[in-house]
Symmetry: C2
Subunit: 157 residues, 2 copies
DNA sequence: TCTATTTTCGACAATTTTATCGGAAATAGA
DNA sequence: TCTATTTCCGATAAAATTGTCGAAAATAGA
């Protein structure tokens, strides 16, 4: 008889929570911006299922990096311009929040990923990592927002 | 003029540190086990570049799950049997330490990855995730140990 | 049996990530 | 100018991961 003892870590996901929240918030704001509407943080977190103050911070960071507009005061909120929506790629959101070690760094944590002196997993990782990078680079915010608008995809479960 | 503000998280790698250390330690122990030698934790962490007590804990967990043998006392240490070395796949190490959310979970953190009601990134992720799973499933510890033995790959930089 | 060695294990500490709070700053409208 | 609204931002707290310490348990050999 044998069974597995479980003691797995809790947050070893593809992206950090901050990054998941950031991507989903951006997508929701994009859908509303397509209708010309600014959205308040309270509305965003309701649709995305994320903590309010934390999400506000993340959107603030994305605003500093020019990926989203914000306006204070009544009738204020977050907004993504049409040109921003078309030009921003998901990889930009990920880079701001999580950095680029997931596409550039060594999968086994060597200080540098180097094909001349590779880690044992290098040849297995290189292709997957570049496909991930390519996927994030090639998909625009507009594309994902359209998926939500048409009801093909969802932001919360 | 425009520049990027950096505030990226610090540990959003493919695997957790614990998992990186675990994989590298297993590979090193495997190379020595090929020579019929048991290795002490002090030797392991020297070759892997990981913190001693932390690495010992991780190896203890892997031992509980039957992926490695340990023996206390003089001439004791860690050892991987030939049958273990051939049968254990990297995915088993990852599953014990990090769980399986990286190959099974939704990339945007929805409570479940569901093709009927997918998140906006689902179609982009499904292929990459399954390739990662496949890569980790198909590579054996023995294969990676041989890479180290022949000097083609390294464990520390 | 005694000693030296080495893993095991619980407690604890440090660091990072996640999350909350409260008030300042900005804005729109009255 | 005053008020209400909303983002911004620093301080702080909570939780998770990473890392350390010390002593118990097991083992080999004298
Ligand atoms: S050296 Fe490790 S992934 Fe390239
Ligand atoms: S539902 Fe998000 S990856 Fe499948």
């Amino acid at each position: 008889m044998s069974f597995v003892i479980f003691l797995a870590n809790q947050y070893p996901d593809m992206f950090s929570k901050a990054c998941e929240y950031g991507i989903k918030a951006m997508i929701y704001v994009a859908t509303q911006s397509l209708k010309g509407e600014r959205v308040k943080i309270g509305d965003i977190v309701e649709k995305v299922g994320s903590p309010e103050a934390f999400t506000a911070k993340i959107l603030g960071d994305l605003a500093k990096n020019g990926l989203i507009e914000s306006l204070k005061g009544p009738y204020g909120g977050f907004y993504i311009r049409p040109d921003q929506m078309e030009s921003t790629r998901i990889i930009q959101i990920v880079s701001v929040i999580d950095g680029d070690s997931i596409f550039l760094g060594c999968g086994l944590g060597l200080s540098e990923c180097n094909a001349q002196k590779p880690c044992p997993m290098h040849s297995k990782f290189v292709k997957i990592r570049s496909e991930l990078k390519n996927a994030l680079e090639s998909t625009t915010l507009l594309e994902l927002a359209n998926g939500i608008k048409s009801g093909q995809t969802i932001l919360v479960r």
